[in-house]
Each structure stands twice: as structure tokens, then as C-alpha cells.
Amino acid sequence: MSIPLDVRGLEPPQPFECIMEQLADLKAGQTLEVLLDRTPWPLFRILERDGHTHRHVVEQDGTVHVWIEGL
């Protein structure tokens, strides 16, 4: 199941905080699908530390699409 989350237009670190909040409730088999204004490098480091699988794509308009798998 995919859970959409759009954090475009928010001032840092609000996007980060929103994603962390959603991650806390994310279950195995669920995917958090996030739209951001830019590539969240620091978030990726935390996701890898915590064992979350993730991938991202940068769209033509600069929007970054990130998929995070629940544990």
C-alpha cells in the first residue's frame, strides 16, 4: 500500500519532521511516497542507518519523488 505525502513549499526542517512522523507509523509492506522540492541527502543517511529501503527520481520540473519502504 502506498501512502502519499507532499511536503513541497515547506521551510526546512519541516519536510524532514513530517516525513519522520509518517515513518514512525509506517508498517512493513507499506510505502511512503514523498514529493519534495529538493533531494533530501540528510534524510537518506538516516533512512540507511535505520534500515529503510528507498529510491528517488528527480522530475523534469525539479520535484523529487522519494519512495520509502516500511520496516
Binding site: G9, L10, E11, P12, P13, F16, M20, D37, R38, T39, W41, P42, F44, R45, I46, E48, R49, H54, R55, H56, V58, G62
Partner: protein, 431 residues
Amino acid sequence: MKPGAALSYEATPAFSVPLRFFLTAPLFGMLAGLLLMMEPAALASRWTPAALSLTHLITVGFMLMVMTGALFQVLPVVAGAAIPGARYVSAVVHLTLTLGACLLSLGLLLMSPGMLLAAAIVSTLALGIFLIASILGLWATPIGPQATPRDLRLALVGLMVTLALGIALILILSRGQPWPLLELLRLHIGWAWLGGVGLLLAGTSWLVVPMFQITPNYPGILTRVWSPIAFVLLFVWSVCTLMGLSIPATVITALLMLLSALFPVTTLWVQAHSRRAKPDSIFRIIQFSMVNILVGLVVVAGIELTLLEGTHWPLVAGILIMHGGFVSFISGMLYKIVPFLAWLNLTQAGVRAPNVKKLLPEIAIKRQLLAHALLSLTLLVAAISGDPLLIRLSGMGLVVAFALLLSNLFKVFRQYGVQQKMHSGYKEIAE
């Protein structure tokens, strides 16, 4: 994950890595204020030893110090680039840059050939180590659609050229090398303003202004071409200046100034379209900075066209662009970057960090930025009037404004320590 992007995920360096630079930089600003209090002649002409010393206390001691520190930790955050061995490299760079800035300012003040030579050696060491480390970090960065990593690379080359020209000037002053002093000096200033600081500020702004000010992105065409064109024009202008081709050099100077003006004009435009409901003091100081740069460029144009004659006009242009423009912008960015990095480091360490606004309250920022902005105007009046009392008062103002900046940055550091200590306390209780 994109292929080749793995290097980007190395751990963010410790908070102490950039912080030591940020906490040292205001001390040089305070030293500049003290110098102005003791030597009002610093605002009599830009060629007096005191004026040269003052300029380098601000440019090398404050601006370069902050920019170097910022690059150490901002690069991993905004560009995904990690500087290898950041903790050790930053300690050496910080020490040598501090020593270099002290020797350079004192050497210029006393016009001591020995001290200037020592400054050249130590500064080369500092920037050389930093440049190699950051080039390694940036080269490992995957090239994305963002122009920032490319522009930061160009800015680093610009800083190297500025340093090389500075060393050439030191060799003329200390060893009497028969090189063209005025031409090299012109190139040194041009490369420092646009090739080093200008490119760094613009390259950072493409990312940081839309990110923190909730503005639309800068137009893609501008971010794609602004820095490369500025860099190529600077190079051609340098060749023309050294070869004595005055007409092409003048035409390129005009083009460079128009290009330079495009950056503040566009920044003001994107700010005018911000989605932010209520502008904060940092939003205002960035606007103030851009207006200062624009007015400074108009004054430089007036000087170039010999419409503005008199020794105080170059000083006015310098105050507008460096203090009103660059120092304002850098201060504003420090207030966004330092609390954010503290928050990020706490979060990455598993500490439940408070809101960034609690790490440094808006009122403290507002007070300092207001003092800084008022001081910019006082400095201008002091430079134009040449009144020694007003110059000394401006010096005192510089000391106060930079002391407030230091105190604000220290508040974040203290909060960071408190949060870490509380977290360790909870962990001990839980165990």
C-alpha cells in the same frame, strides 16, 4: 538510488567542524571595529595600511572564514558531497586560516614584508588544503540538474586565482618584483568580489534562497549560464587588462557589472514572489543585502565613468558591497544554517531536537541584524564625511554588532549542548 551516488551518503561531519569557523569569524569583525576605533585614517583612503588591514580582516577573517566553515557541512547537506576526513582537515584549515588572516592584517597594517610573506605561505597552506579536500568532495558528487555543485567548483577556482593574485601583490610589496601593481590589484579585487565571493553566494543562493525563503526557484536559464559566463568574462577581462587592451577591458567591465546586477535583481524578484506569509528578519536582511549590492554597483559604475570623483567613493562602494551586501547576506545565512545544522546533528544522533526557532529566538536575530543594518548606514556617512569621531563611533558599532552575532551563535551552541546532555541523561536513566 542513482548509480555513483553512494559516496554522497557518508556521515555528516560533527557540528564542531563548521562551528569553529563560525565562532572565530565574528572575532575578526570585532578586531576590524577596534582597528577603526584606533585608526580613523582607515576610512581616509582605501590605500592606507589601516584600510587594507581592515578590508582583509573582514574579507579573509570574517567572510572567507564563514564560507570555508559553511562549505564543510553545507556541501553534504545541500549537494550530497562529503569532504574526506572533514574533522581533521577542518582543524588544520581553521588553524592555518586564522593564523593567515592575523598575519595578513597585521602585515598590511605594519607594512611588514616578513609578516606578509609569512601570511602568503600560511594562507596558501590553508586554502590549498581546503581546496584539495573540497575539490575531492565535489568531484565525487553526482552532477544533477542543480547548478550549485558546478558553481561552487567555479568559485573555488575563483578563490585560487584571487589567492595567486594576492601572493603576487605581496611579492611586489615585500620583494619589489617588477610586476604591474595597479593592474594586478584591479584583478585581485575583481576576482575576489565576483570570482570568489560572488560565485559562492550565487551558487549557494540558487539552492538556499528558495529553500529557506519559500520563493520560486531562480529562472533555470539564469542558474545554468550566470556563473560560467561570469567566469569566462572574468578570464577574458584579466587577459585584456594585463595586455593593456583598455577598450575591450572597459567593455567587458560593463558586461560584468550588468551580469553582477542580474543576481541581486533576480533575488529581489524571487523574494517578491515568496509564499511566506510574514517575512522574518532574515528575509529582510537578504533584501537589504541585495539593494546594497545594486547601489554599490551603481557607485562602481559612477567611478569607472569618472562621474564620481574623490577618494571616498571607492570606500563607499566597498562598504556598500562588502559590508552592506556580503556581510549582511552571510549573517542572514548563518542564522538559517547554524540552527538548522544543530537541529540536523541532534536528529541524526537520535536526539528529539526542539524546533529550530527555539534553538535561536527570532528576537535575538532581529536585534543583531538591525544593529548591523544601522551600522552599514553609519559607516557610509562616516566614509563620506570623513569625521574622525563618527568613524570611531562606527568602529565601536562594528565591535557591538559582531559581538551580538557571536553571542547569538554561541546561544545555539549552548542549546545544542543542553539537548545532548538531556538526551544522555534520559538514556542513562532508561538503562
